[in-house]
Symmetry: C2
Subunit: 252 residues, 2 copies
């Protein structure tokens, strides 16, 4: 298999981002409006070309920062604040996925706490958080009646894969805390699970499970009543990244 540089076809390589957050009890993804053809005016996942001297993870972190202002968590520094979880998702390379040229896209998955407001290069009307069910419908409309689906290119497939990855990964890892602010309550964490899985969980069993798993949550000592009702203890994410035994997703 010779590596003669003239013997292989040239590809463009991009990174596309599935950026997920939980807003108003719903799992939402970041979508940006396309400014030029093809799919001009349609919504798509944020993304862009990988630069010549850039690693794939670097490119994804750069795009994430450009679109949301979020810094990506360095996996080597688990106790870092104010950063989003970022991981490689999958790579999409159908020869016809972009009508103009051969583009291979390395999709990444980012999980972020609820953010003040989206921005896309400072232009708010060209970026939005939309519930994933809206984005994944064959033809979806947002609350303002504007069409938000289907997404451009194969981005519906990418988003679907990203959502499925997130849904399964919070089962056996502490990743759900990436959707929470630095300090959070057990109830807030439970509402994250309920939003991502779109199910209702028993508050008592959930409390027992997460507080009984060593290393998952560490109490900060403080309390809050920001959710109403009795004051709740505040926690922050512990060092444990794997949940064993896992949190079980209820059957249907």
């Amino acid at each position: 298999m010779p590596y003669d540089p003239s013997a292989f076809p040239a590809f463009a390589v991009t990174v596309d981002l599935v950026v997920l957050t939980v807003r108003r009890h719903a799992l939402c993804a970041l979508a940006v409006r396309r400014g030029e053809p093809p799919f001009q005016g349609r919504w798509a996942l944020p993304g862009g070309f990988v630069r010549a001297d850039e690693d794939l993870a670097q490119a994804a972190a750069r795009e994430l920062a450009e679109e949301t202002g979020l810094r990506a968590h360095d996996p080597a520094v688990p106790a870092q604040d104010n950063g989003a979880h970022l991981e490689q998702l999958a790579t999409y390379g159908d020869p016809k996925r972009d009508p103009r040229m051969r583009v291979v896209s390395v999709a990444h998955l980012a999980l972020a706490p609820d953010l003040p407001a989206p921005r896309a290069g400072g232009d708010a009307s060209n970026a939005r958080w939309a519930p994933v069910e809206e984005l994944l419908q064959p033809s979806g409309y947002g609350r303002d009646g504007e069409p938000v689906a289907p997404l451009a290119f194969d981005h519906a497939q990418i988003l679907s894969d990203g959502v499925e990855r997130a849904r399964s990964k919070i089962e056996y890892s502490s990743l759900a805390t990436a959707f929470c602010p630095t300090e959070f309550t057990v109830g807030e964490l439970r509402r994250v699970y309920e939003a991502v899985w779109a199910v209702a969980l028993d508050p008592r069993n959930f409390h027992r499970k997460v507080t009984g798993t060593p290393g998952f949550l560490v109490p900060t000592g403080g309390t809050t009543t920001r959710q109403g009702g009795r004051p709740a203890q505040l926690f922050r994410a512990g060092g444990a990244t794997l949940l064993n035994p896992p949190m079980l997703r209820p059957e249907v």
Copy 2:
């Protein structure tokens, strides 16, 4: 983000394969000897360029067939025989991973039953099954004293990721049957788990678990004594792809 074709750097895109099998109670991977620089004479994972009109999965299936003669399972046809499991693993794109040029490699993971003999374009001396521990050592030597490690490029990292994927995936899926021939016994399946995880499992509890999981195994009616001892029932893989609850990997 303009898509001007001159505005992006050109990449070469390859597929690399982690082909795993179980031989002589050990998890083995397919390695091929490099015929030209860089890393000439060293062992590497099989792989090659993605062609201009080819999907990534097609390219991986083609490389797999070229190197092993195996056809890849079509995931839409679960009851297919004589095919290997093939799935995308991850993508590696460090700018310096290939010293000559910018190469992005989409690694794939293939699981195959024990095969008669490896072949690399008909040249057996340039392909071999090697235990993954040998291939992953900082400097490993095969049973014949020939150095087999370290692998070329970043292939040790890719192999390590593939092995970890296989180890975790047989926990919660029926993927371990991909290492078995069409018909197999419970004991043979158990030896697959033991080889992949490098642990010893209790035959009685394992038998209870796999025969008690609906849809995992379907008896064919036949028996065999090819492992010695009391005749064992023959099974084939059932339709179930997910194991719930999962098979638990022992601690330690």
